[in-house]
Each structure stands twice: as C-alpha cells, then as structure tokens.
Subunit: 406 residues, 4 copies
Amino acid sequence: MLKLDFHPAGRHFLQIPGPSPVPDRILRAMSYPTIDHRGPEFGALGRSVLDGIKKIFKTQHPVVIYGASGTGAWEAALCNILSPGDTVLMFETGHFATLWKKMAENLGLKPEFLGLPGIEGWRNGVQAHMIEERLRADTGHKIKAVCIVHNETSTGVTSDVAAVRRAIDAAGHPALFLVDTISSLACVDYRHDEWGVDVTVSGSQKGLMLPPGISFNAVSPKALAASESATLPRSYWGWKEIIESNKTGYWPYTPNTNLLYALQEAIEMILGEGLDNVVARHVRLGEACRRAVRAWGLEIQCLDPAVYSPVLTGVMMPDGVDADAVRKVIYERFNMSLGMGLGKMKGRMFRIGHLGDCNDLTLMATLAGCEMGLQLAGISLAESGLPAAMSFIAGESELAGLRAAA
Amino acid sequence: MLKLDFHPAGRHFLQIPGPSPVPDRILRAMSYPTIDHRGPEFGALGRSVLDGIKKIFKTQHPVVIYGASGTGAWEAALCNILSPGDTVLMFETGHFATLWKKMAENLGLKPEFLGLPGIEGWRNGVQAHMIEERLRADTGHKIKAVCIVHNETSTGVTSDVAAVRRAIDAAGHPALFLVDTISSLACVDYRHDEWGVDVTVSGSQKGLMLPPGISFNAVSPKALAASESATLPRSYWGWKEIIESNKTGYWPYTPNTNLLYALQEAIEMILGEGLDNVVARHVRLGEACRRAVRAWGLEIQCLDPAVYSPVLTGVMMPDGVDADAVRKVIYERFNMSLGMGLGKMKGRMFRIGHLGDCNDLTLMATLAGCEMGLQLAGISLAESGLPAAMSFIAGESELAGLRAAA
Amino acid sequence: MLKLDFHPAGRHFLQIPGPSPVPDRILRAMSYPTIDHRGPEFGALGRSVLDGIKKIFKTQHPVVIYGASGTGAWEAALCNILSPGDTVLMFETGHFATLWKKMAENLGLKPEFLGLPGIEGWRNGVQAHMIEERLRADTGHKIKAVCIVHNETSTGVTSDVAAVRRAIDAAGHPALFLVDTISSLACVDYRHDEWGVDVTVSGSQKGLMLPPGISFNAVSPKALAASESATLPRSYWGWKEIIESNKTGYWPYTPNTNLLYALQEAIEMILGEGLDNVVARHVRLGEACRRAVRAWGLEIQCLDPAVYSPVLTGVMMPDGVDADAVRKVIYERFNMSLGMGLGKMKGRMFRIGHLGDCNDLTLMATLAGCEMGLQLAGISLAESGLPAAMSFIAGESELAGLRAAA
Amino acid sequence: MLKLDFHPAGRHFLQIPGPSPVPDRILRAMSYPTIDHRGPEFGALGRSVLDGIKKIFKTQHPVVIYGASGTGAWEAALCNILSPGDTVLMFETGHFATLWKKMAENLGLKPEFLGLPGIEGWRNGVQAHMIEERLRADTGHKIKAVCIVHNETSTGVTSDVAAVRRAIDAAGHPALFLVDTISSLACVDYRHDEWGVDVTVSGSQKGLMLPPGISFNAVSPKALAASESATLPRSYWGWKEIIESNKTGYWPYTPNTNLLYALQEAIEMILGEGLDNVVARHVRLGEACRRAVRAWGLEIQCLDPAVYSPVLTGVMMPDGVDADAVRKVIYERFNMSLGMGLGKMKGRMFRIGHLGDCNDLTLMATLAGCEMGLQLAGISLAESGLPAAMSFIAGESELAGLRAAA
C-alpha cells in the first residue's frame, strides 16, 4: 500500500462535510468477499437494501441505486424526466446548486437560475415565494421541473422543502419537483412522499456514512410517468430497466456489491438508532457548534437562523484572513480536515462537518482543533468556544436524563 | 449484517467470469478509512493510481477512471466522441456486444451490427475481414466508429484486436476504434497505444481483481480531439473536466476513494507479479481448463482455437441437459458459483471463470467441482478431466523449473 | 506491513494440520476495535463465549479460556491438579504426546510413558488395554493422572477416548483423566462429560478456525476438587480465580478481547452448521483424502483403520524420498503449505490437513497439488488420486441428496 | 456477531489506561490470513519483529515474546530466575505492584513489600533510598531480586528506574533487577541496557497499541545466566528453548501469528514517528491533561510532580462523590470509557488514559467528556479545563512551529 502518512500520530479527524467518517462496522461489512451478483445470496441482499433504503427516504415508491457519485444521480434525475431544450427552474443557494445548473446546461436543458443577489444567495436558503411568483408567471407551463438543494454543502444552509412544495401547489403549476438531499439524507428531517417530491437525489458518503460510490434517485409515480415520454438520451441512468430488475433484488448490470454490503449495515445502524434520533443528534451538534463559533466572536455563514444546517457550519473569517491558511495549520498541527470555501466563498470561510457518525465528543475535539488552529493562525478570538458548546451539550444531556427518568 | 449463508461450510469458489475473487490484500486496502478527497494525501493517491493504470493499459495517454460499472464506461466512450444519429459499426460476438449495441441505440446512435449468422457468431471472434469490407464500402465515411469486444464474457472467445486495427488501416477509413476490454484487461495481452485503439473501455471486477464500482476509458489523442466536436449530451461522463482535474491527482466530483485504495493495491500486485507473467498465467489456466473439458467429452463453446479465451471457458451441455440445473447442483453441493448462459446461450452452456486471483490449485478445485456436479446431474462423461488438466499444469511447472534452473 | 509474498499469485492453500485457514467472517470479527475489558459490553461478550464454548466441549462444567497457545493449556492442566513428584501415566502416540511428557518432566512430575515399540507407536492409537493393565498393577494408586492425546497431529491417528475411560473404570483406579483435544475439538466427535474426562485441553487454531492465541481447559468437578490440594506452584494458570471472575463474564487479568470476538463468531458458525454436521464433514474429507492416497499407491501413516484421523492424513514417502523436498516443490510451484514430518517421522512423510474451514473443493485442490508435486518430485504414482476422491465425494453428495429428497 | 451496541452513536472514546485504542493500520494488519508458522514467510516475519522490538526496549539482548497477557510475562520473569523460597524485594506503588507481589507468593517466593504508609504509597513513586537501605542491611544477600513497576497503571505515577539502579549499585548488592513496563513501554523514556535492568516485563495493549494477547521479557545476560540454576518449575515460560528457536525466527510452539503481524505494524509506526517523538507526545498530553484537572479544581492523584505519569492521570473525587457513578454518566451519555479506581482507590478516583494512539484532539474530546460528565454528576468545578489544556497545547504547537521554521 502506498504510504499515506502525511499527518501526525493518532486518529485523523475527518470533519469535512462529507465524505463523513465511515464507522468500523461499515468498513468491515464492505470488506466481505464479493459474491456472484446473479446468485441467490445477492438477491437476498438486494431485496433487503432496496426495501430498507425506502425507510430512509420515507417513501413507498422505488429508490434507484446507482454505481456513481451524487453527481451521477443528479444527471440521472434530469435525463430520465426531461427532453432536450426543456426549461428547468433552479435556485442558487451555493456552489452545488450552481454545479447542478451547469450540468443542466451541459445536458442541453435550459435552466433558469433564481436567487438572491450576490453573496446573499449563498447565506440564505431557497426563497419559496420567488419560486411561486415565477411559476405563476409561467402560465404556458414551459417550466418542466423545479430543482432545489435541500442542504447546501458549500454554505451550511438548509432549505425548507415543504415550503417549496406549497409554493408549487399554490401556483397550481404541474412542474416536477426535484430535490438534492445528497448532504441532508439521514441528517435532516426529510419526507419524500409527504412533501410530494418527484425525484429525490442522494449520495452515500454523508449521512449514510458510506464511502463514496453509490447514489440514489427516489422516484414518484408522477416522475416515472414523465420518464415514459422524456427524450434525453439515457442508458446507464435509465430507471425503467433498473426498477424492473430490482423487483427480484438484482440489477441489469454489475452492481457495487461491496458498497451494498455497506449500505445494508448503514441502514441497520440508522434504523437501530432510530431515524428521528439520528436527526435530533445532528440538530444538537449543529447548535453546539454554532454556540462555539459565536463565543469565538466569528460569524456563521448562514444568516437565517430558521435554516441553520444540522450537517455543517460555515465559519466566516475576519477580513484579510485566508481561511485556507487556517485550515492548513489545523491539518498539519492537529490532524484534522475541514472543508474549504468553494466558489464564491473560496478563502473566505471554512466548513466544519458534524454529520454522519459524529457524536458529542468528536464535535468537542473538532471545536478544540478549530480554536487552537485559529489562535495559531493569529486570529484573536473573543473567548473560548468550548465552554459554550459543552454547557449546551451537558444541558441537553441533562434534559435527556430527566426525560429518561420521568 | 444480513446473514448471507446459503451455501455449505468452507470457502466459496467464485468461478464466474467476473466479479472475480478479490484478494485479501485488496479487501484490506479497500477498508482503510475514507480520507478527504481534496487533501494532500488524496492527491498522492490519485497521482499514483492514474500513473500506474496506464501501465496496465500500455498507454502513455490519459486513462479516465469513472465511479460506475463497465456499462457506464461503455456509455462514456460513446457519448464523448459521437453525435446524435452517428453510425457506428459493431460486431456481434455475444451477449455483451449485443448489449453495447442496444446502448448505442438508446443513446440515439445508429449501430450497424455485423456478425456471423445465428449461433456461429457466438462461437467465433470478430471477423476482421468483414469489418474491412464494410469500411471499404463506406466511401462517404458515414461510419464514425468501429466498436468491438476484446473478450466476450458471455462466450469465452477473445478477438484479435490488432487484426481489426489492420483492417481499418487497410480500408483507409478514419473511423475511431473502440475496444471493450472489460473482461480482458490484465488477463489477456493488450496494447492500447501499439494497436492504435482510440478508446479502451474497461472495468474493475475482472483482471484487476477489485470489487465492481469503477471503470475506465483509456483515451487516444485522436479520441480526445473528436470529443471537442461531438455533440451527444454529457456531463458526468465528460472527459475534459476529469482529465484537467486529474493533472494534480484530483477529480471534479467525489471519487470512489476506497476503491482507489484497492486499485493502488491491485496495480502493485499486478506489476509486482509482472503484467506479462499475469497474462501467461491466464493462458496456462485456460489451456488446462480446456483439456479437462475435452477429457469429459464435452464441447468448448469457442470453435476457433486461435481465439480461445484465457479468461473463461464456455462449456456446452449435451442436448437436453439444462445447464442451469447443473449449475444449481454445483452451487448447492460444492459451494461454487459458475457463470450462466446468457442471451442466445441461456440454459445451453455454463461458463467457468479462471481469471484474476486464480491459480493452479483453485482451477483444479473448480474442475473437480464441475466434474462431480456434472456426474450428479446425470451427465455421463468420457473420462475424468482432472488427470488431463494436472498433467498439463505439472508439465508447465516442470518447464518453468527447467528454465529457472538453466 | 512487511511484504510476505514469497509464493506465486492467487490464494494460498494452508493445508497444514493447524493453524487451519481462518474464515473471513472470523478475521473480520477479530478486527473490531478493542473495548474496555471491564465495561458492560465486554461482560456480555464474556458470558456469551463462556456459555457457547461449553456446547463445543459437550460439558455443563466450567471451561477456562487462557491467553496462551495449546502448550500453555497443557501446563495449566497439569499444574492445577498435581503436586511436585506426582506420577502421571502418559501414552506415546507421536510427537505431541512426547512433548507433553517432556513438559511433565520440566514441571517436576514423574511421567510413565507407555507405548508400542519403535515406529509402531506413531502409527497406531492409544492402546486402552495397556493402560488398564498398568492401572491394575498400581494398587497403591501412585498414579495421579492418565494423559492421552485424542488426535495426534503429528501422525493422523485418533484415539478412542471412551475406551480409555472404560479402561480406567475397569481397573477401578481413581486417577484423573486428562485428554488433549487440541487438534480434535470441533473436528472429531468429543464428549467431555459423557466420557468422564477430568481435564480436556484444547486450542484455538484447529477446529475452532481461529488464529493461535487462546487455549482451553474444560474442568470436571473432580478436577476442581483435586486442584484444592495440588501444590505445583501456579498463578497465571490458576483455575480458581479465573472461574470465580468468569461468573460475571470477566477475567482477573486482561483477556484477549479480539480473539474472544473471533471465538464468538466461530461458535456461531459451528453451532450454525451443527456440531455433528461439522464432525461428519471432517469424516467425509478424511475418507476422500485416504482414497486418493491409496490410488497413488502410497501408504497412509495410520495403520489402524478404526482410528483414522478425520483431521489430517499422514502420507508416507517411498524409501529414499525426502518428504521435505516434495513439500518444497509443492510450496513453491503450487502455493500450498503441507505439514512436515515431526520427530521420528522427520523427512519420511508429510501431513495433509483437512480440518476447520475446509470443504470438498478445497480438499480436491489440495489433493491435486499433492499429486502434481509428487510427480514433479519424480515419484511414480500408481494412478491419479483425484477420480477416487471425487467419486467418493460425489457418492456422498448423492446420498445426501437422496436423504434430503426423502 | 453478538451485538455489542450498548453506547450511543458515533465513535467510542476508549480512554482507559489500556488496552489503548488500536489504530486501523494495526487492526488491518492483524486480520491478514494466518500463515504456516513453520514456513519461510513466517521466519521472515519472526526475524523482523524480534529485531524491531529490541529497539523499543533499547536493548541489544534477547526479547522473549509470549502468547500471554502481561500477567503471564510477570510469571515468566519470576520463574525463570528464581527458586522456591527465594526472597524478592518489591515496592508497593499501587494495585499492580500489589498483584505482582501476590503472584510471587503464589509461586512460592518470599516477597518483602516495601512502601510508604497507607494511601501515601499509592500517590508517590518508588523510594529508591528505601531500597538502598534495605539492600545494605541484607549483608547475606538473601534478596535475590528487586522488582518495581515503572508506571503504576492504577495511580498515574511513574517511578525513576535509573535511581533504583543507582541504589542497588550503591548498596553493592548482587540482586537481579526486574522492572514492569507494561504500561510505560513506548510511552515513557525507557532504557533496558543503559539502566542495567535484568528483566523488563511488558505487554502489548498499551504503548504498543496492540490488542491484548502477547507480552514480553527483555532479558540481560546476567538474568540468562541466573536462569541456568533457578529451580522454579517452568515449561511454557522457559526462556532457553524460545531464545534458541527465535534465532531463526521461529518459536518452539505455535506463536500468535496474527498478533505478530500487528506487532510488525506497530514497530513500523513507532519507529516511523520516532520513539523519542512518541515519548514527547505522551509527555505533552500528560501535562495538558493535568492543566485541565487543576483548572477544574480537582486533585491529581500523584503527589510528586517529578513522577507524573505521561500515560494516564488519576483524578481524585471530592469527598462523598462516587467516582464510579461519574464514570457511568460519562459512559452512558458521552460514549467514553475511563479507568476505575482499583484496590485502595476504588470509588475515590478515576483514571484518564492518554496513551498509545492518542493525539491532541482526542485528549481534548476526552477532557470535554470528563468535564461535562462531572457537571452532570453534580460536581461543581472551579472553571472549565479546556481553555487551560488548549492554551498549553497551542503553545507547544507554536514552539514546534518555531523550531520547524528555524
């Protein structure tokens, strides 16, 4: 094995907003010998994961699993339901919303990109009212789909999916509704069926705690119907053949067997903890993280407290400070990886991931690493952030204890 | 973990023609903790695998690594260099050649499907002279690409790639040359640059001994140039952005980190054994396998000894015997998986994989399992195949010993 | 990791009579993170393995688990129940019986070593009538213990434990009865309680399919009572403190946590297959192996068909042939490890292990490797052994099928 | 696998003073398939670890590796060099010194147990002057060995080994010098040869970062000579046969192959980081931990700053607080294991391990868990300990940066 030992001794803290740290149970499950993807054991595995994953998306309808990164699942979502030249309404919430829009262009679609002006768009969530207005104006129903990102991994802002659903309904518009939950699934409350989402796109390496390599399309009956007439060319991504083959637990082409072992284990872990408990843990960690950031006297990227992300926190640097230099100090001295500023935010902030297999003490370590690194980088902080974070966490624990005792 | 213990005690023999058994070294490498795909350690890994994989393809030019199965890499090869409505010349050698052709249709291309009539096409290799004739007739150069499968996984027939190259040259035709080496790479002699191939498609789960999940396009400068003007929509598969990002060892979107660990290990193993030695081992195992089949008095699917596959052997059943019933006996009694007959061959033959991490004794076990299973299924065999196989292997070993002693 | 790649490509066949190949499930279980050996999770693990292991020994009484090889468990058995200068009756069945006797001397005991003359003793089992005679003569009950080896790993001879029990009873002698089952437990029928054994010694790396590192004393109430007055110094090996601590699932000193994970998995696998089925599988493999040896025209070391070992087969070389040279050829050319001749048998035979995670096809591979190696070493064989072995195995499978169908 | 999921989600923090967390590299190395312990690959492994481990003990003389816990290595040290009834001088520093003394009694030796009165002895290190006085008084040289514990795992006190060596020399006494480094090796500066230690006892599961299961005796020529005439019975523990067999890299009985893989990896990791750097890291973490404890206003168990342990810190509870109740809160709420008070300290303190694969951020997480747990348990703390610890660590990092830049 190539030696990859660039950092100091001891456990590395992978606190980027994904890939999130893969739990030992999952790494072990993934390393079981590959089996025949046409044999009876594989069928049992296939049926089990295809059934289990529906519970995570909160859907009764098919979830298609791709051997691909989340980017592939974006493409799949678009090309299964749209035709060349179709207009899609997208909303600029950050780097990933922008990339998805760029992909739509690459595929020959015509995206309209709504958004707040300048950097504002990257510090707030989707504005449902703007979508409603635009749809109302589209009396000819030229817009075929509305696409939003549930949790912007580049900013730490989560959008209100149900509000967008209501906006579409209020406008009485027939557009399909597509939501990217790549970094929110199994971290943030999400309800594919209840919120009337037509295609939910997701990935493996965030809340599902898997290595990257598989991704998802949860597909509503309406989306499935739309795919019958959509004419964007597609083969690898085609839902129809996959869903047909999935009925018996198999795939039309060779699936990622070892990642499906891992997925099986992840589903067991998440349902074992309880999906709602998993979400509550993310919410708690997010709040603790923000309390530390505020104690430091630094600004949180997300400006709207209603849509703070439970997945990651964007920390703005004071003027003149290069966020990447801070990240480098932290990486080299404290053996921790943080997320860099992307796109418009490059160098202006860093991102703390607190998702997936993260718990209270891992977050405390993370905050300590940030705090020491900020100090070493010469940034003067208002006060230590740890006491604020600990006090919140201990308080939450006390409440949990009181509830358990009651 | 879901219990997947349908078979009897002891090690399972996974003797399908891929996924091939993943060596322990590779499974361990794959289970290392996922790292930051934007950090310095990842860059070192990326540069190492991107450099190493070129040696396996015998190319100096870029090899694009996809998070996808081989089917995805087929699509990538087509959509990067072709435009809607383009004619491509394909050759029917079996099930996978047929699937590739079907994909071309799905993508809006116009495949012409050459081939020998009926079942003949599935028992012989690509007929280079037929390709030459067709290209000579295409004076208007409507044909934009010639696509062949190097080793037909469904039949156990390997085609002569260099001969097809010569045919294209003899016809003086400018078509791009695409070769699927999904099941031949690192099993059969292959030379991307020397044979003037424009796009070589390959996968992870055969000669590279990895789990499924990544796949490849080796790309010639001519193909890269063609991609500038090709208009099939593409985003996930687009070479340009990936090759640009690969220059520093990174990917434009989240790569399959853990499978890249595995790939690094596989490249080390293959180059450590010596790529030519690896090929020679496959050739030896193929011959040993066929000697056993002949001793049994059964027919080998491949009719042309010049293109016997070193990767797998298709074994024809006597009339009236259901090959899948034989496979079931072998699976249930002897804990071994064999490949089923696909497409036109369904139920008429089974396929013995002898690829990847296979060695002499593993093949002997495999042949013993087949022989006992055939007997239990009531097929009367001419004689035991093991002595014939062993005698060949021992003779080869003796030769190797003599050479080593000399 | 130090590179340990001395052998050719592909899976190594570890066909020594122990350590036996460790199944993937067990290797994975063993590699889970070490936990606090004083925490609640460890207690659950401890109680589970201490309970499960009793089923493998077929006892209701305590089984003590040592962090030590089987040699340590030999010492534990002796020093817990004996006092300096005590006479013990041992029986020479081979190398390991001889080593145990040497250990008794080292510990200050007085072993009497019964046995058949010369090499005869190494080709037959324990002669119960000789033990009975000797005990009858010991009217003063100077002999404190009778010690035998159930399966002689150095010879491939299994002794009749129940017969020795009957011999002790027939002589009306109060000696304690100690049996070494290091290489027989979970391979050969064994019944600690029913056969009135006082201390059963065993190890991890044979039928239990674990790596070496833990070993066992199953202890009868009579043995436990004897330990109260025995005066050989002991501390690490002392039963009393361990059994007391085990009541809650813990150990008085740090236990081998990761091997206990592995033991838990092994017990699940063995009881899942069914202990009797495991034994029947070993019996079948032993017979198949011997049929091949006879077909080759070579001699089986064990002369008494009543006590053939289901665990391993000792294969005698023709005069003038160096067995270790044959083993070397097989190791280097066929990537298989066989057991060497030990003690009196050095160079005169080799040992084929067919124990633990072994199944039909693994044995076939093993026999093929032996056959080809013997030929390469210049030994002329009567005929191929594979057909004989396969015919037996296929017949057994057919019977199993008939039974299943009935 | 038995489900062992008693604690909340996310990574468990195993902050007991051993077993310490096993790094992923070591767990992976340990899970490689077991090989033939008599084959050439094993010999290479054996020679490599036997050579490498000497560097960790800083000795040129043999280091014997046992398949046993550290308790077994204690017994080995005593029984190889002593005879029944021999007097040994031991020093009470805590629970483990007391257990070793009890073992000496069990083995029929006559330990004299020096020490400071009452609880004082458990809060200070070995008093070299008391040993010197006692040896001077022993004009008849009845005392055959002096035995001390280098780092008392039960108290967090490290003793001055060199001072005891000087005391023995000053007294001109020929007693052998035995040192238990079970929890200090590869954590605290240690020099077997330079300090004239005759037998250094150690274990795997602390500074070596391995799972429990192997242990060590580093043996001086003087000790080896003494073993020739020592008469305590011994077999499993006998140095002679092992050292003889080790010369070629093998063992007289089955060694713990998989733990030797792990040991090989651990030696590579420790020497890769640099043994002195490893020790410096432990010293830094110890100081950071104590600064937090002082900030809390709690007492450190060790009263003598000259012998603070870099391995663990004993934290005294205020009167009336049950330390085990605090530990329980921390375990259940924060998924962290701490060491309990042992023997005389039961319930009065807990122990924070900061050894082995521990780094700055892991310690910060640990301190945060302690701090929150103490608060939840109702203990009022003077102030948060994290700022004090972080300020020290950041200062150390700054110094390291300055040094690196210079």
